[in-house]
Amino acid sequence: METLLTKIQTLLSYDPQSPLIFSSGLFLYLFVGFLLGYWLLRKTTHLRILYVVAFSLYFYYKSSGLYFALLIMAATYDYLIGYSLYLTKGRTARKLLVTMSVVMNLAMLGYFKYTNFLFDLTNQLFGVGFLDFQNIFLPVGISFFVFQSMSYTIDIYRGNLRPLNSWFDYLFYLSFFPQLVAGPIVRASNFIPQIRRKPVVTREMLGSALFLILTGLFKKAIISDYIALNFVDRIFDEPLLYSGFECLMGIYGYALQIYCDFSGYSDMAIGLALLMGFHFPKNFDAPYRSATITEFWRRWHISLSSWLRDYLYISLGGNRKGRVRTYLNLLITMLLGGLWHGAAVRFILWGALHGIALAVHKMWLQVVPGAKTLGKDMNPVMRLLGTLFTFHLVCLGWLVFRADSMQTAGLMLHQIFSAFDASLIPQIIAGYSGAFLLLAIGYVLHAIPDRGDQWLRGAITNAPMGLQVAMMVLMIWLVMQVKSSDIQPFIYFQF
């Protein structure tokens, strides 16, 4: 009994190695308990807010320990700055206040996320020992909540938002657990009106939530996790052990893996929020169906791309200062957007590639008569060609994004272009049948038009509770089978 208690204590304590992710068993027990309390408190707004804040802070503590204090700190200064901004009329003072908020947020992000990277760069430039490495812990989700918090003060500065009257409400917004660690980046203007509204979950909302959680689990815990472990990672680890075909499939696999991982987790977050009566905007919209790179950024991680557009690109001048500045602004926005994804040169290069591609596409739209931004406006042949081209351009970006060095990226390309070995294709597909089956399912589902999604969402919504439960249980059971399935052994096809 004591052992069980110790185990429970360990399970509930901070463990950086096992954050509380939505696809874990622990989250399910806790969420069932949490939801009961949430329902009981649905009519007592203050208590409900306190209850959710407490759960969210615990959720954050589980993965980042005492760093949950950072959340409270960020909530405090941005709440105070937001309020001061509202009360201040002077232009300079308002500018100063918003600058203070941006600087404090970026300083926090910079310190925790980029100090080691900066030291590494300076050591490479000026020799080892120029700056000493610090052991800095990266608090989970800091990139997301910092951007959320900045959207609050900037919107108040721009006069688009009234500040909150209660600090607790602001902490509620910033720490709300569904989107806390991996987004979507929910704007203050979108979230704040929902905080004090009496939570209502209609049958449609429940159906949508179950649909999003089901598909999210399938994408994240089945497709992404399986192909990463059993196919993609090993190819990126040692490209020279694999034929060009395997390397190419490794890149396609990674494109699917990162999409399924990111969008699956986002979908689950949106679904969980719906179960609590909160509506979040869509974060991914079948991005690989994009016919242009501009369209891709309207479909990929929409909450980030729209944040970058509204708070960075527009702040830099957007397209209001002439063509050259527009291209430059696009490049800067995407460079910084790349850096937001992680502290490494490869993320900057990835951002640069997308920045250049966006600028070139903007130029193309201006120079080529009849060029379109969106696939739906193109003829089918152009749309298909555009989709294929955009997908491969994005894949090139993923290659840079995923490869641990430019050397690895170069080796992958070398294998693809000089050791493709098409004769091995049947053997490779048979050898990695599980991974290829999931790759095919993932891409086919991605290609299915939106009405397919709508149909499934409707079917789940209209299903009786027993069937809804059965579907969820089946999916979780599948996830557990995949999670405990044998690791695909290495298969050698080269001779």
Binding site: G25, V469, M472, I476, D486, P489
Partner: protein, 530 residues
Amino acid sequence: MLRGWKTALWILLALIGIALIPPVTVGGVELRRANIFADLYRFEERATDPATEEYLFDETEFEVDLEAVKGQVEAVQQQIAQADTMPHEVQIDYRWVVDAQTATRHEVTINPARYSSRLTSIEDFSAEGAIAAFCDTLIEANRPIRIAVLGDSFIEGDILTADLRERLQTAFGGRGTGFTPMASPLTGFRRTIKTQSKGWTAYNIMQHKSVPAPYNEQFFVSGWVCRPTDGASTRWEATTFRKGLDSCQMARVLFRSPDSSRVQLILNDSLSHEFSVEGASQVRQAIVEASAIHSLEFKVLEGAANMVGYGALFGGQGVEVDNYSVRSNNGQAIFRTNPTINAEINAMLNYDLVILQYGLNIMQAGVYKYTSYGQQIEKVITYCRQCFPSAAILVMGVSDRAIKNENGVETMDAIPYMIDCQRSAARNQGAAFWSTFDAMQAEGGIREFVAKGWAGKDFTHINYGGGRRVAWALFDAINDEAAKAVARRQRRLEATKPVIDSIEQLPHLMKPLEVGTPTLNGAVQAIPQL
């Protein structure tokens, strides 16, 4: 909202019910227990009957008649013995001396510093103390010391051997990357040398059934035979991937030329030398000696029709470690090599130690009995002894390997049984044994290796990073034996040392350190000339 909570509750209750369903096999598909509270409670799964090993490998594919092997090897040894008293009937060595090499082994010092977390010692089961004898040679001999590491994909691409070589060469002298094949689809993966091959068809021993005659009968333990066309060439270029690889003083290319041929060596892309090779069945070597060999190209100018290329060896003085990895090999592929060719090449190289790294390709979860495989390993040891009679044999136990199940990633249950089988085989054959598994466990085991990026996500294969850790542990074990050899030598010297009774002897004691006079802690210690 209540409906949402009820749905979530029912899901949880259903999953608790499902957790009680034990693992089942449906239509050949094994379904694991879906234990939603695995973090809190783990079910004791009923042990299934251990599978038998019969289906794990096909003994008949690699049958061997050890008596016949013995006969073939003895015939070669007899020829070689005769050649000591009278010249070979045919020229075996084609030597090109660019700069005469006068360098001898650098001074040997034993640094007691450990590179691994815990010493995993070598267990020597030989009656004559073969590992001790090897270490005596290692610290004393003023000639190259050559080690062959025969293994599978675990060491492919010079993984493990790259770092074993680096450590041994740093401690006991030597340069160069050792053996590298003439051509293979895997040369690009190996980072310790750059290989560019043109005009060769490479045959692998694992596909021996589809290799055309007579090439299928000409395998050396490297596992590759390469068939050239006229004009075929291979260029090897040194790298700086590990210390001591950027250049060496001696390189040799091994080939067979049953018909007369003309071959060319190009050194450092500048100097070249041609040899006319008289047709004969024996393995030949084209040797180049130079003060700094950075790159070497071997070209077949004429007579490629029946020629066979094996590869090149880069080294010189000191320790040379040759990587002979054949993926998917469980050790038995050696029986498909040609004992005559092995013996002829051994006559050129004179191996001092042969390390056998096998077992991963046989071991399976749930299989606890490896008796038949143990017998095969014993045969492999016997085979190696016959082909490399001067070498001590060291069996590396199987490495750590993990599998995934409902409890997460766990060490494969079969490992202790495979290790027992390998240790018993070594004991029965009087070879030495070293537990790779223990060495990996000392560094945290395969899960830690994967977490640190030292091993692949199959929880089986290590990479260069993991190879470095295993190599360091093996080096520590060898170094520990070498330290004992040094102590033995010192005791021996002290036992025969005359009493210093005259101050006149002191200047004699102050002489510089002689080659091969190691000390235990690296301090320079002069040994009196007796």
